[in-house]
Subunit: 753 residues, 2 copies
């Protein structure tokens, strides 16, 4: 655990420029608006350790880099998030010397992310070349005008002598990814133009040898200031505008840079894109700075009104949950159907903005409750729209039906490690489960009937082809898989995978008769196929150990040396940073919920005894080194009335990044896992379920807290749930009356006038 | 199967320029002298499909390229054979137009590798720009003067008009590997000089971010011709000499290029290297072309005298075995202790010149019988000298003792796929076994006592740390391994691995008391350690199926869908080119001998019944898609008197490359597997074993053949064994009298005067 920001209910704030942990500071002060986003790196050149990361939603490159021995079935390329053309770049000179906070003498440093308004502020006083200057820099990516990045400087001369201030504002396409092997660059400049106080640059991703379309991006910068403009040096890859002003003693100046960013994702031709950029720039340039700030604050307030979680009695917990909500909404708010939720959002290169099963497993329930229903539906349609690519992925492996990708930008599998790409097929189960989850929560079966059934049928066909009959076991088996616990690879009969395979077949068979005759005709599931599916449902192996009363994570799991995770010396945790992969694989330790993930998905369908035995067996073997792990365990612990355990698990998920629990936040935030703290509160502490088509709650109040409160969007209603020492209060803020179950008793909610 | 060369006992010859199979032609016409080698690509630019491959023994680059997710314990870099500075490059102009056989009109083409003399000859007649010219090009890498490459042109004007001939001879450092991802280059030119008719160039491998030394190479070219010299254009990366002559009608010319190549592997400083190059160039330049040719022929004859295998009645088989011997000797002849046998030798980039366990498993028995004893000892010392690096490799995985690398240039593991690097640890067993194999064959236990015991102890300590106690099984187990059958990954209790682990511990315990007290003191194997080793020997799981009377390849192997390989449709073979890796892993199909590899190693220690049951169970499941597979099966089939099967397996190994059996010879030859045909004849058909410290034979004659004959070097003797319809004749050609067993009867051999 490493806490480098101060505890505050609405801000991520520090008063120290922590050069040792600069990247961690940057990860934590990321901002985004779904369309684009960036780490909290400085605008100016910084000669110390830093990771400049600026990303555009849906802009990526198909990398062909190959190492090791090719395995048949691998995708031809793997997708790579690319660092965008750098449009935040702005350098500051004081008396003709460039400011560099890595080496300059500074004081009064503050870095503060205002989550209520979505604005990042940096302040510092710098003394150099006889001058003393106070600088305040505010930046935002607008959630009102997605294409707008705004950067505002307030610079004051604190000394009694005049000071020469120079600002150079740039757009730079000479950008590499840090994970490049041979410093390869991905942007080619198409056109650029520099005017007196504005500039623009158009760049295209470089050619690829696959059929992946190249992306074009256009950026225009304009400036609002009293400073005097002059031409700045430019290069083949960049454009710049320079501004100068001599400040008298105590005098100050304001300088605002606006960057408008358009991409070929939204335009049909280069001319359209260029015209679009010009129109947008004109439109956005007409807004005042105050207006931009006010609109940003109002829009964030509207989001908070629908979703805020209040925790009394624990400011750190309060800060944690708001940080998670803020970063999730910054990554994805459902405005663009073609986008999804990247595990690191816009906060780092690693795992970047690609789509994983995290979305359906952990993101969907969150957005179902906290945003309009169409957001969740858009997430489902994203997969429906990528069904052709999922057929392709299965075909690559010589299998029938559809296999959704482990990692993707366009629906095609974009990752090439066999134990993931070929084996972590349980992801298909979660894609199917998400349809059920949506339908159950919203009560809306139109998606299931119109589109979901296509996905379910295609996935069922995959499972039916992927199982094998074992003469020796007299069961269908699923060999060669990796379960959610990625600390095991190439195992046989992962209970979780087999459970989801069997469930998918069953759910598909149940729903097929409910869809329209036309749809049934199109899907063409034959009687033989249905019989085969039923046979698999009846005879698929779900390994168990009867003696212990547990489901077996996989064949042979009990052969391992089953010492609890508590026996691992503290200096060897997390094991993934201390043990070789070989050691990890042989160990019994579980990275994240595996059997328990299955129990969570169908939590109302297992007996308390089953839940208890499995939790008691598996949790002590679990190291929770996936950020996706603690939330599931918090929910199950709460379900079993292990309240202390539930709170312990909550604490790991709520401040995972803020306290750098897994010692890897330096690479970026664990965006998709951030739903976990919300899930732990809502499904865990408050025990929210859907049972018999009703919303139900069985809340408890963690000892440390005096009160917690959260909002729930449910079937057109907005509810606010408050839990304190006096019990639970549920209020209907919007929508028609609703009957729910609270502690096993029906309660009818009506809006108070 | 694809046969593109003519059948001939001593030549690899074709009269067709097969543009579709140009790379295959190139692989098959590779030449080498252990110090350097090259594919059979043309000297001149060729605009069609070709793979230019020229490699220097021991010259490589540590590549940092990373893709996928880093696994803890991976080596920091992986070694990459790099394409050497191109010194064979020579272009021919006829009437001012460059010859390019991809597009020119040619006739009388011949490409012929003379294996008796080690010379590659190419002939063609080309008609262009009104001229008709006959060209004969001979090339060799000298096995007498290792640093010498010799290229000789005979060019004749076949027309009645004069023809302008121009030859440009170059050294070019602007060379990339074909498997490069971003066209990265590995050579930096240090210095170069061009004289009137000679030139030189010095280049260094580019810097790396590891502690791997950079290599420097120096190349000097000289020319012997009546052509007139003139200056040729040169570039930053290359030097060239140009020569011109106008040929009258029917007139001809000779042109000889000699390249002398030195590397920093043999010199302490750049000055030494430069001086060394100049001295060598002067010395070698003093030889006449005839002398170079004659010395080459004589030296190859001396090799053949000690090793030739004669097969009567089957010219294809005859050609196959000689091709294998020729290519093996071209790759490695034991002159340089620091070198080893690369799986593709100098014939391709893939798997290039790195060292694999193939050397000990398949190469050692070959060199033991066909070369001086010191060659085999050098192979063992190579591993002894890399013991510190083997400790490092084990340490990387958090394990005690020594782990020899799967792939290496310098003893450090140089491959980074976890299922290989971390899991294919059986390689350690073969390193240990090789010590036993050498000692048993030579009768010389000095290596074992002086150096081998260090290796054995270090490997035993690895095994003792790698096993785990399974409470559930009440056995020691070895989880998470890949056996020789690489079509299974991350399996538990591979019988072969466990067998070798147990055997190593036993052999080490047996031999420890025999070494000097000083050595025992240094090794410091404690009594507790010995007790632990004995406990592992007693309780290590060696999985069996009692009912079937077989050893189990791994835990759970019988759960698979056990259809024989014969049930795979022909158009899906080889499966590694048709099935996804996932499909392969789930299948029961075996790439190469696994259980049977263990039975081969200890062939005299299993009962005929055990051998039969295991062969009958596993061979039908084996697809022999490793080139290392058929030979082991040929030997075992012969042992079981399955003579037809033995011959079938022999045929797959003998002409594996010549007939492109696995459809991958285009990438290069399967050098280390080439020992297989010799093993199949000698250990298979002739049944050679060492039993009770005696050489024994139980030969049979394959039906197709009328006679076969081979040479054996054994404990200072040279024997020739002849098998024909009349039985077996064994003659002692050199050395002291020797008693052997022939068909279970003792025979004493004496040299005939």
């Amino acid at each position: 655990m490493q806490r480098i920001f101060e505890v505050d209910p609405w801000k991520i704030v520090t008063h120290k420029l922590d050069k040792q942990n600069k990247r961690l500071q940057e990860s934590m002060t990321s901002i985004g608006n779904e369309y684009m986003g960036m780490r909290g790196m400085f605008e100016e050149d910084y000669s110390g350790d830093t990771l400049h990361g600026l990303y555009l939603g849906g802009i990526w490159y198909p990398d062909k880099t190959v190492v090791g021995w090719w395995k048949n079935g691998y995708p031809k390329y793997f997708g790579k998030v690319i660092n965008a053309v750098n449009f935040d770049k702005t350098n500051l000179w004081i008396n003709n010397e460039k400011v560099d906070l890595a080496t300059d003498q500074i004081s009064d440093f503050e870095l503060s992310l205002d989550m209520k308004r979505g604005i990042l502020t940096r302040r510092f006083t710098v003394e150099k070349k006889g001058a003393k200057v106070a600088v305040t820099i505010e930046r935002l990516v607008s959630i009102v005008d997605k294409q707008l990045f705004d950067l505002h400087y307030h610079i004051q001369n604190l000394s009694d002598q005049t000071v020469d201030i120079r600002l150079v504002s740039s757009i730079d396409a000479d950008v590499a990814n840090e994970d490049s092997n041979y410093d390869e660059k991905f942007w080619e400049v198409l056109a650029k133009q520099t005017n007196r106080d504005s500039a623009e640059l158009f760049a295209k991703t470089k050619p690829n040898q696959f059929d992946v379309p190249r992306f074009t991006v256009g950026v225009g910068i304009t400036h609002h200031t009293t400073m005097e403009a002059g031409m700045a040096p430019e290069t083949d890859q960049s454009v710049s505008n320079a501004f100068v002003q001599t400040l008298a003693a105590q005098q100050s100046l304001n300088f605002e840079k606006r960057a408008v960013v358009v991409t070929s994702r939204d335009y049909d031709s280069f001319d359209d894109l260029r015209n679009g950029l010009h129109q947008l720039t004109r439109k956005l340039d007409a807004k005042s700075h105050d207006q931009i700030i006010q609109e940003q604050a109002d829009a964030w307030q509207a989001r908070w009104d629908k979703s805020d979680v209040v925790i009394d009695g624990d400011v750190a917990a309060q800060q944690g949950i708001r940080f998670n909500l803020f970063q999730l909404f910054s990554t994805f708010y459902g405005d663009d159907k073609r986008l999804n939720i990247g595990p690191k959002g816009f906060t780092g290169e690693k795992y970047g903005g690609a789509t994983y099963w995290d979305t359906e497993a952990f993101g969907l329930p969150f957005y179902l409750s906290l945003a309009d229903q169409k957001v969740a539906r858009n997430l489902l349609e994203y997969r429906y729209n990528q069904l052709p690519e999922a057929f392709h992925n299965a075909h690559q492996q010589g299998l029938k039906g559809a296999l959704y990708p482990m990692v993707t930008f366009n629906g095609i599998e974009n990752h090439n490690e066999w134990e993931i790409t070929f084996e972590e097929i349980h992801r298909n189960g979660t894609i199917a489960y998400a349809i059920y989850n949506y339908t159950r929560y919203t009560g809306d079966d139109s998606y299931l009937k119109e589109k979901g059934i296509d996905v379910l049928t295609a996935i069922s066909r995959f499972w039916a082809d992927r199982v094998e009959w074992s003469e020796h076991r007299q069961h269908y088996v699923i060999h060669g898989v990796t379960g959610p616990n990625e600390y095991e690879n190439n195992i046989n009969d992962n209970w979780y995978t087999n459970l989801l395979a069997r469930w998918t077949l069953k759910y598909t068979l149940e729903n097929l008769p409910k869809v329209s005759p036309e749809k049934q005709h199109d899907l063409d599931v034959t009687e033989d196929e249905k019989k085969q599916w039923q046979d698999i449902i009846d005879k698929l192996l779900l390994p168990e150990d009867k003696e212990r009363g547990i489901f077996l994570q996989q064949d042979g799991f009990l052969d391992k040396n089953l010492q609890p995770a508590s026996s691992i010396p503290a200096d060897q945790r997390p094991i993934n940073q201390h043990w070789s992969w070989d050691h990890i694989l042989r160990s019994p330790y579980i990275k994240q919920a595996d059997v328990l993930q299955g129990i969570w998905y169908f939590i109302t369908e297992f007996t308390p005894e089953q839940k208890k035995r499995n939790f008691d067996f598996y949790e002590p073997l679990t190291v929770h080194e996936s950020s996706l792990s603690p939330s599931v365990h918090a929910i199950l612990a709460a379900d079993l009335h292990y309240e202390d355990k539930a709170v312990e698990m909550y604490e790991r998920t709520a401040r995972l990044d803020l306290d750098n629990y897994n010692n890897d936040t330096v690479d970026g935030l664990h965006i998709t896992s951030m739903t976990g703290s919300w899930l732990a509160i809502v499904q865990g502490f408050a025990g929210m379920r859907i049972e018999n088509d009703q919303l139900t709650f069985k809340p408890f109040l963690p000892k440390k807290w005096t009160r917690y409160q959260f909002h729930i969007n449910f079937r057109g209603r907005l509810l606010v749930v408050t839990v304190d020492q006096n019990g639970t209060q549920i209020k209907l803020l919007k929508g028609a009356p609703l009957t729910i179950q609270l502690n096993d008793k029906p309660v009818t909610l009506e809006k108070q006038s």
